[in-house]
């Protein structure tokens, strides 16, 4: 079953033409898909179109109503006073957007996710005091509070030590296998992306250059 269908999507920024050119692909339910490519190839732009952060694209995107999102990390300030619990709980905001306070079920969801990701015992800790890897774990927990279907991640291992990066990939892999959560992520790290992904999509100058399994991607890359 296709969870996301991208049909002939093109997008231009006011200052940059042809950021995306006629991109089409599907993301199957319960798979791990990696989008790779150079800087400026349109990877993040594509994610933002899927998430409705970029308006005015042409073509069609069919997607579930609720998507968990992990933005590129540099948006969050280093001295922001927020506990892990507050950050994770804020992930539920889209579930009951009209209500004034968090509902009991939101708090339950947050608790369940924090336990699963082993951050429940440190939930009162300040987000800013965590290591890079732990911060990503918290942001993945926040994304999971928004959905139990699919999470979209924008370079979640950027700036992390290789050993910590592997932990993040292992975690995503476990979420896919144990909870049947679909993973769509953008990555620079082609080697590890191809180790864990079921499908690799390579973008170049806003167009799909390659789409297929990691093994055929590696063969293509070796040429």
């Amino acid at each position: 079953m296709n969870l996301i269908q991208i049909k002939d999507v093109s997008f231009n920024y006011p200052t940059k033409k042809d950021t995306l050119k006629h991109v089409s692909f599907d993301v199957k339910k319960g798979t791990f898909t990696c989008i790779v490519g150079e800087n400026g190839s349109g990877k993040s732009t594509l994610l933002k179109c899927i998430l409705n952060l970029n308006k005015g694209y042409t073509g069609e995107i069919i997607k579930p109503e609720r998507i968990g999102y992990l933005p590129q990390k540099n948006f969050i300030q280093s001295n922001f006073p927020a506990s892990i619990e507050e950050v994770v709980l804020s992930g539920t905001i889209g579930n009951n957007i009209k209500s004034i306070f968090y509902k009991k079920e939101d708090k339950e969801t947050a608790k369940k996710v924090m336990k699963e990701l082993e951050i429940y015992d440190i939930r009162k800790t300040c987000f800013a005091d965590l290591s890079g890897g732990q911060q990503q774990r918290v942001l993945i927990a926040r994304a999971l509070c928004a959905t139990d279907e699919i999470i979209i991640l924008d370079e979640p291992t950027n700036g992390l030590d290789p050993s910590i990066s592997i932990q993040i990939y292992e975690l995503l892999d476990a979420l896919k296998n144990n909870d049947n959560i679909t993973i769509l992520m953008v990555s620079h790290d082609i080697e590890r992306a191809t180790t864990y992904a079921d499908e690799v999509i390579e973008l170049e100058d806003g167009e799909i250059k390659f789409i297929g399994t990691p093994s055929s991607f590696k063969q293509g890359g070796a040429k």
Binding site: L51, L53, P71, A82, V87, S90, I100, C126
Partner: protein, 273 residues
């Protein structure tokens, strides 16, 4: 001390100032946390200068209740400043400085050709608890209650947007709407607080409590609560000292805020040793 307090509270103007000051300090502190985190610390300064410009023009034109004119104009300025963001040609910190000094200059120029630097103008600049009429008090109380209520109603959304705007947008929140809300609320607090704190000092009650709280507290909720308490406490101590030693109220409140900030700074250093 008790006797001084009783004597102090017997004055109607002090009672009015206490009421308005407590509410305005609370609101300023609530909004201050979001503004400091969004790096808009200086917006209070800019808006109060615009307020000063409007008040001088209104006074020169003989308008009887200049606050009613100041509120819409300062609100529009606030929205423009917050919405400019960092994407435009002139960065937001520069645009605040630009608008701030221009408005102050216009205000001072108009004052020079009309009334000159009289007590009224001095009161605008440095605040006076005597300056508030009954109408001002009612307006200030109503505005403060609206600000506090809206803050509570939108608390979790304001947190989500302040922490991570992109995630908030992806969750379906209209992030721009909450930026506007903060802008409008800030403008309201500035205008009603300006009479008491003065144009030069009002921005400090927005910034100080938030910065002080962020030294020690590490969750958003605790920082908000602590800011509210510090702000109200600084106001009450400030107005008492100002009455006792006959010092300018606005200045005393800022100094009390500064002392608490230094205290927290030292406590933080001791804890982290």
């Amino acid at each position: 001390m008790v006797q001084t307090l009783i004597e102090m509270m017997s004055h109607a103007f002090i009672q009015r100032a206490m009421l308005v000051g407590t509410l305005v300090s609370l609101c300023a502190a609530l909004l201050g946390v979001s503004l400091v985190l969004k790096r808009y610390s200086m917006i209070g300064d800019g808006l109060s200068h615009v307020g000063f410009g409007v008040l001088t023009v209104a006074t020169a034109l003989g308008v009887s209740s200049p606050l009613y004119i100041a509120i819409p104009i300062v609100t529009i300025t606030a929205i423009v400043l917050l919405r400019i963001g960092n994407n435009s040609k002139i960065k937001s910190d520069s645009s605040i400085a630009l608008i701030s000094s221009s408005a102050l200059a216009i205000g001072v120029a108009i004052t020079s050709v009309t009334t000159g630097m009289n007590t009224d103008v001095c009161n605008f600049m440095f605040g006076s608890i005597l300056a508030m009429s009954k109408g001002d008090v009612v307006l200030s109380v109503v505005v403060s209650i609206i600000v506090a209520l809206l803050f509570i109603i939108y608390y979790r959304k304001l947190f989500t947007v302040t922490f991570d705007e992109d995630f908030a947008k992806a969750s379906g929140l209209k992030a721009g709407r909450y930026t506007n809300l903060i802008a409008v609320l800030t403008a309201l607090v500035i205008v009603v607080g300006m009479r008491m704190m003065g144009v030069m000092l009002i921005s400090s009650i927005i910034i100080f409590p938030a910065l002080t709280s962020m030294l020690l507290f590490k969750s958003f909720k605790k920082v908000i609560i602590s800011s509210g308490i510090i702000s109200v406490l600084s106001f009450l101590i400030g107005i008492y000292l100002s009455y006792l030693y006959n010092i300018s109220t606005g200045a005393t409140i800022v100094i009390v805020n500064l002392v608490i900030f230094i205290l927290f700074f030292i406590i933080d250093k001791i804890i982290n040793e």
